[in-house]
């Protein structure tokens, strides 16, 4: 009852504690914002960065080979092991980076025409249909999509069957469990993450820019090269951050559709099979460094203005 009568005009002189608190917040705008953001920012700070810092710290510890327990003595042994054994470790890093780069370039080449069509050519209706078509795969489980690709690419799979019908046998042997199959699956998986930023970036280019280019005698190809591409570059780089980092961190696709290992597989086996958390942490530093360099380069191109 009192709660309802409180806001009444006669109750105004004797303000309730709740009202006084609200009033105090109203006078201190910045504190209001701070209280509101404390929880999400605190989560990000403590849980996310806390875990990251703990991970980086444990990279400098080692596991006692006899007991299997973590010894908290500062050492660079894990990093030394990576550098002095380039055969498995740096080879795996190189393979991961090369395939991530390949996937990124392929996605950009495929995504750009689609995004351009959606942004500048298609009618409103067609564009909506295309947008749904691009997003629909994201509704299905990641694992379902990977497994269905395995059915398509396996040695006696759908693709092999199709080409055998056409009189071209042996296509399944080219794919099968290979780096090629893995690249194809990655390109498919991350394509929406490339299309969406480019689409958004292209939509932001005013029509008048293209008209101005045409007025100045720029043919379509020249306009594309000198006007559209530079303006879309930040969006392209933003999309590439997704495709590159998602490929770099994946370990399920290599396990399911290839016969090789990625950085993530080594981390997984060091954690799950060997129980060597420090070495896994040290190895996890490598993709962090690679992404750090990549993000720095991306920010120089202005990618974050398009996000």
């Amino acid at each position: 009852m009192s709660a309802i009568s409180a806001p009444g005009p006669q109750a105004a002189p004797a303000a309730s504690p709740r009202r006084r608190l609200l009033g105090w917040f109203a006078r201190h705008r910045r504190l209001q914002l701070g209280t509101l953001l404390a929880l999400p920012v605190g989560w990000l700070g403590v849980v996310y960065f806390g875990a990251l810092i703990l991970l980086l710290l444990s990279a400098f510890w080692v596991v006692d080979p006899v007991t299997g327990q973590i010894v908290r003595d500062w050492t660079l042994a894990n990093f030394q092991k990576i550098i002095t054994h380039p055969d498995p470790y740096l080879v795996i890093v190189a393979r991961t980076v090369v395939i991530a780069a390949l996937v990124t370039v392929s996605d950009a080449v495929i995504a750009f025409p689609i995004a351009y069509f959606m942004a500048r050519v298609a009618s409103r209706r067609t564009r909506n249909i295309l947008a749904v078509a691009v997003l629909i795969p994201l509704w299905a489980s990641y694992l379902v999509r990977v497994y269905s690709w395995r059915l398509i690419l396996s040695q006696n799979g759908l693709l092999d069957w199709f080409f055998t019908q056409l009189g071209i046998p042996g296509v399944g042997d080219i794919f099968g469990y290979s780096d090629l199959s893995m690249t194809v699956v990655f390109v498919y998986l991350w394509l929406p993450y490339m299309i969406l930023p480019i689409w958004a970036g292209l939509e932001r280019i005013p029509d008048s820019f293209l008209e101005a280019s045409a007025d100045l005698g720029g043919r379509p190809l020249m306009t594309f090269r000198r006007v559209v591409l530079p303006l879309a570059m930040p969006a392209l780089v933003a999309g590439s951050i997704f495709t590159f980092s998602l490929t770099l961190g994946d370990y399920i696709v290599p396990q399911l559709v290839s016969n090789t290992q990625f950085i993530g597989n080594v981390i997984f086996s060091q954690l799950g099979v060997a129980g060597d958390i420090p070495f896994a942490a040290a190895f996890a530093v490598i993709p962090i460094v690679i992404m750090g360099i990549y993000l720095y380069a991306a920010s120089r191109v202005g990618a974050f203005e398009a996000l």
């Binding site: 080979p65 299997g68 498995p88 396990q255 086996s269 799950g272 099979v273 129980g275």
Partner: protein, 423 residues
């Protein structure tokens, strides 16, 4: 004698099943085979348990639930094959609701147990995990007198080194088998007789890319076993106790094998898929895969133990030291060792049963996955055959013989296997 025992045990099971169908929550062992269990349980002090804390001499009332970490196929409730159901009757009789978590590898199993204190009651650990679990204090000693069928376990499996340390039992053996050589009968009309068919590059040239290998560090032992026969000058006496030179030779062999391997398998379903879709035509596997593939009838596979012998597994039901439902777990151990349950699990999993009292039924009355003379073919009672298999155990620096601590520990096996897989 054995037949009579089995028949008696079966009869009691039938009685128990009948008596308990009304939902009684008594644990089966307490009402199990009459006479002997009561007598031995009360004289539990005479058991070879040397631990300081006296072990329980009777199984208390069940706690209503049982959470197990298992190899796939060790706790069937009829949902995969309606003829194989030994979980449902256990639940009805004991009142312990069974939940299971299947593990793909021994390492997986070990980590689940270590990271899941208070979550898991028991585990069906192989020899390469069981000693690690014992060393780490993850599993508790048990009083084998609580398992009425313990006396019917093959003599060589009653106190094997992988589950009995200094006379203390850390569980009961449930079954064992070999890592077989599997081959597609169409691709290999003549049976390959040697592991050379998956290690000798000259032979493999004919079917490059069609070979499969186990994706676990313990597979290095398979290479070592082959080398023990092929290169006697290395002096390999035990494929799990390798000096650095022996170890390097095995790793080099696997590196040479790598280009010929189309796909390594870690999960048994992967291997089944790959045999069925033609990716794989030859490689190491378990009887379970053979049964499943041949039942699917897409391809036909044969299996054998090659002339060099084979690695294998011997599994133990172990009680977690942090079990939330220890009585249910002890009741499960007693249940799992009963002859009729052993018959089902041995047929379903494709392994030799630990309890040889299951053999008369296995030999003469096969279920859908069984066949005549099951125990003879699996060598269930054959000690020399058992001794011919090199059972999985955790490699340690201590070779366990005069060589002292010059052997390569498991940690290095993991690193070496990463390097092999990286190609």
């Amino acid at each position: 004698m054995k037949v009579r025992k089995a028949a008696a045990a079966l009869a009691t099971v039938a009685i128990v099943a009948g008596a308990c169908s009304s939902g009684a929550t008594t644990a089966p062992p307490t009402t199990g085979p009459s006479g002997t269990s009561g007598a031995t349980a009360s004289t539990g002090a005479g058991s070879p348990t040397a631990s300081a804390v006296p072990l329980p001499t009777a199984i208390g009332p069940g706690e209503g639930a049982l959470n197990l970490v298992i190899w796939p196929g060790y706790a069937e409730n009829g949902s995969n094959q309606k003829d194989y159901d030994w979980v449902t009757p256990f639940e009805q009789q004991s009142g312990c609701k069974v939940t299971t978590k299947t593990a793909d590898t021994s390492d997986d199993m070990y980590n689940l147990m270590v990271q899941g204190h208070g979550q898991w009651d028991g585990v069906s650990a192989s020899g390469d995990a069981s000693n690690r679990l014992i060393d780490a204090g993850e599993v508790a000693p048990i009083n084998v007198d609580l398992i009425p069928d313990f006396k019917n376990i093959s003599p060589f499996l009653q106190s094997p080194p992988h589950n009995t340390v200094n006379g203390v039992h850390y569980g009961v053996s449930l079954g064992w088998g070999a890592n077989l050589l599997l081959y597609n009968k169409k691709a290999f009309p003549t049976q390959p007789l040697s592991w050379g068919s998956v290690f000798d590059t000259a032979q493999m040239d004919a079917y490059k890319g069609k070979v499969t290998a186990y994706q676990g560090p313990i597979y290095i032992a398979d290479a070592a076993l082959y080398l023990a026969d092929k290169k006697p000058e290395l002096g390999i006496t035990d494929p799990y106790e390798l000096t650095q030179d022996q170890f390097n030779a095995a790793v080099d062999l696997l590196k040479a094998q790598h280009p010929y391997v189309g796909k390594y398998w870690a999960s048994y379903t992967d291997e089944i898929d790959n045999f069925e879709n033609g990716t794989t035509t030859i490689g190491t596997g378990w009887q379970y895969q053979v049964n499943t593939i041949n039942a699917d009838k897409k391809v036909e596979v044969g299996s054998l133990i090659p002339t060099e012998g084979a690695t294998g597994w011997a599994d133990t039901w172990m009680l977690s030291a942090y079990a939330p439902h220890p009585n249910c777990m002890l009741a499960w151990m007693a249940w799992a060792l009963k002859p009729d349950v052993q018959k089902q699990s041995a047929e379903y999993f494709g392994e030799a049963p630990a309890n040889v009292a299951a053999c008369p039924q296995l030999d003469t009355n096969p279920g859908p996955y069984g066949f005549k003379d099951f125990c003879t073919l699996f060598g269930a009672t054959n000690e020399s055959f058992y001794n011919h298999i090199s059972f999985w155990k955790t490699p340690r620096a201590d070779c366990g013989d005069s060589r002292g601590t010059t052997c390569v520990p498991y940690k290095d096996w993991v690193d070496a296997y990463t390097a092999i897989l990286a190609g």
